[in-house]
Amino acid sequence: MSQSTHGLGGLKYDPAKRSRPQELNVFIALIVIVAAFEILGRLLMGDSFLLNTRDNVDTFFNEQRLQIIILQVSIVGIIGLGVTQVIISGGIDLSSGSIVGATAMIAMSFAQVATVNGNPNPKAIFGDWAMDLPVIVPVVVGLSCGLFAGLINGALIAYTRIPPFIATLGMMVTARGLSKWWSKGNPISFPTDGYATIGKGMMPVVIFIVLAVLFHCIMTYTKYGKHCYAIGSNEAAARMSGINTEHHKILVYTIAGGLASLAAVVLSSKNLTAQAGMGVMYELDAIAMAVIGGVSLQGGRGSILGTVLGALIFGVIISGFTFLKLDAYYQEMVKGIIIVAAVVLDQWRQKGRSRG
């Protein structure tokens, strides 16, 4: 660290005035929310939100609840990782939820078993050739769908220069249409055992954590990550500096699509079925996680760690409402309010910082 106390023109530099990392603020918010549920729980329900109160298990925390909190956000969290790098590079991706739907339908069609309880699979999409395939087939097919959709998003945005909002909105509607057309609205079920293990138990959490670490490293230590921040911060400057912004954007959206389709594989495996309506609103939940985690919608700022914390806040709120036996409708309303509040806070932070 260069510890010169004199800045330019004799301006004093005060290390204490260095702004707190945004992630710390989000973490504090997470603690506050958990504490609020803990207090409300003790007052209203006479039970602890976080700590173990059962006699038959010997743990300090209520591990079951902790598992549920992270399990229920891990699949949308996988999408959130992709959305985070899109938003940091100055874009937005509304198509991820629909990509989940389309990918789940298509991947599941290649993951079916031939016979269920001695009878032919009643939900069969293709003929015998597509039955009992090795698990790699539906996974590769599924990921290809997402990567391809993302590639189209990226190419549209980079080369036709239409706003990301419009390009991905188009993909959102198109991919949802595809997922409904694929099996004429019928659910696709009865996957092979191999496919069913992908999202079994706590597997979604493991996948989410591994990917979060991977993408944290990518965004922090690689040229790709650095250029995401640069383009989101000042696209003209990035271009002037020799960054191929078109290629970079295509890559960003392709990766986002790939992550959405991976989430679809995990989700359909976990549910043992795929339906045309899978993933509806996931894109907004993923964006909300990122925004709550301090990722600025104006681009250039935020982190994977922030999004992971944002996802945890999401999970805590859903679990907390269930714990307090509040109606599910309240969850949606509160989610909406929190998203707006997070963006307003971000704007205030910006105002406080810019001094011209």
């Binding site: 023109g9 911060s233 000042n234 990035a238 810019s354």
Partner: protein
Amino acid sequence: MEDIVLETRGLTKRYGGVHALEDANFILRKGEHVAVVGDNGAGKSTFVRQVTAVEQKSAGQIFFDGKEVNFEGPLQAREAGIETVFQTLALADDLDVPSNLFLGREMFKFRLGPFSILDRKAMRERTLEALKTTAVKIPNVDNPIRNMSGGQRQCVSIARTAAFASKLVIMDEPTAALGVQETAQVENIIRGLKDRGVPLILISHNLRQVFDLVDRIVVFRRGRIVASLRKDETDGNDIVSYITGVKGTDAAFA
């Protein structure tokens, strides 16, 4: 001519019917610092935009480093060795100083396509070196540029140019928005370039600064070069009369 870095012959730029730049013949020699002065709309910035290929010239030739060049864009010009500080800062506000200095030309620990691992330590060290050689004082290079004053940001921008400058530096009004001390800082960087023998084209409205820093002054008026004078054979009044058109309406100069 071996010692000529940049030469333009009959450089012309028209926007529709407007002759923004007309038949500009300009020579810059090795290690020379030249100021480009003139009233607003005299063609100074237009001239720079043709040389750096931000815009494409309508007519004329540009010779750089001994051969004729036809840059397709500012990137090519930069790769050829022309570093420019533009009036609008080309910095990414959310990145720290090393990231901005090395934007688009990062150093790597090992290469893996787009996912090449950055050598952050080496970039940081080279940044501190570059700031030292250009005499720029930035209290904390790990802060995002956003948190810095206009002067500090301008210094980062100039340090970036100066650090990588090999053949030619162009600055378009680098001190226009700066305070007194910050201006002094930028002027020091320019003197450093002179000591290192890096040639410079400086666009400025500030005649005091111009006489302080450069060897030669080129005056633009209504899209034409009307004078090219060595600093010691002219003075402020003389330059002003060329700028305003009292003198030099039938330009005769070397």
